[in-house]
Symmetry: D2
Subunit: 116 residues, 4 copies
């Protein structure tokens, strides 16, 4: 028999997903700024940054168990979805984009569950 997942476990899991996504976005943006094909990565840098900012706020609200966290998770899921879609376009060429897309998709899923 599986144990029911508590809200505290869901919040902890979502916090970890946000911090992992924040880091992947920071790393991806920095790496994009060094790539020879930066011309193709403009939107990626932009979305990495928005997504990092959304993840950072959401992570802090989860840490303090703020009543605002469902609204932040809703926004964060949208930021993650947009960033993942762009990073997936470059995932074949750049490992940092592939890793970022994966972290964004996990964070998106976790945030949607919290926002529901």
């Amino acid at each position: 028999m599986t144990q029911p997942v508590t809200n505290a476990q869901m919040m902890q899991e979502c916090l970890e997903a946000c911090l992992a996504c924040l880091r992947a976005c920071e790393v991806c943006a920095e790496a994009c700024l060094d790539e020879p094909d930066i011309d193709m990565l403009r939107e990626c840098i932009r979305l990495d940054r928005d997504c990092a900012d959304a993840c950072a706020l959401t992570a802090r609200l989860l840490m303090r168990a703020s009543a605002l966290h469902p609204e932040a998770c809703r926004m964060c899921a949208e930021a993650c979805a947009a960033c993942a879609a762009e990073c997936e376009r470059h995932a074949g060429h750049h490992d940092h984009c592939r890793l970022c897309a994966e972290a964004c998709r996990r964070c998106e899923e976790s945030c949607r569950r919290m926002a529901a």
Copy 2:
């Protein structure tokens, strides 16, 4: 004849409302932490902080005209509404709460317009 309001004007107005609300929340939280009746102001300090964080992110997304700004405005409107409702309960006793409630209501209204 009145001029139609452009999107750029709406974003500028919303940015100013977010910065004014951010500042009012920071000032209110600091002042609450010095009040003799701090026991009554616990929730006010808490909501001031969440609202300040929401306003800070939303302001930055508006500055960079991010595509994420409608989602941030939606979250920010909820943060402002919650903070205003609490501050209004203390508005008769504390000027900083009255001023914060007013800034929150203006920001809430402006953010709802951007999120629509």
Copy 3:
């Protein structure tokens, strides 16, 4: 023979210390806002918040390996030292203060090493 510690290892360790301290400060501030003796905890709430903000910025600069990280670490070490000193005064009464003080001291030490 011990291996020399690389700069990348030091940055990783400092990043982890900043995130742990950020979380301990958020948890401590939230818990203080619920304590019956909140009157004694005003400065603790205040310093928790400043320290959390300093740790959050420093963590993000370390994630992106920013050239600004030594300056951020210097500021963060001061924020951690001030927060730890206050939390230590309440460590006998509140577990969240004791845990926060410990996280702050670890982060302070790690940030001083990075700033050197």
Copy 4:
């Protein structure tokens, strides 16, 4: 006879300089991401972002009159100096870089005064 400048006036002036610099950095980074010569602007985008983050934190600490503000101003002055130096290299080609450099120099000067 000139009036002596009070600390509250200096803090208010520094807060305004930080907010103006934050906005100029956000606008410059966004505009750089659209420029045909983005290849020359990699470091500019990077420093705009660090400087924006430093200004955002410093502005909030000034709003709440935090005891940590001198340390934040010291860090912010360094961030502004680095961003200004880079933006000045592109000031002849891009108005957003020229305006950003000017805002950075004003903020740097104001922050150095606060940190002294």
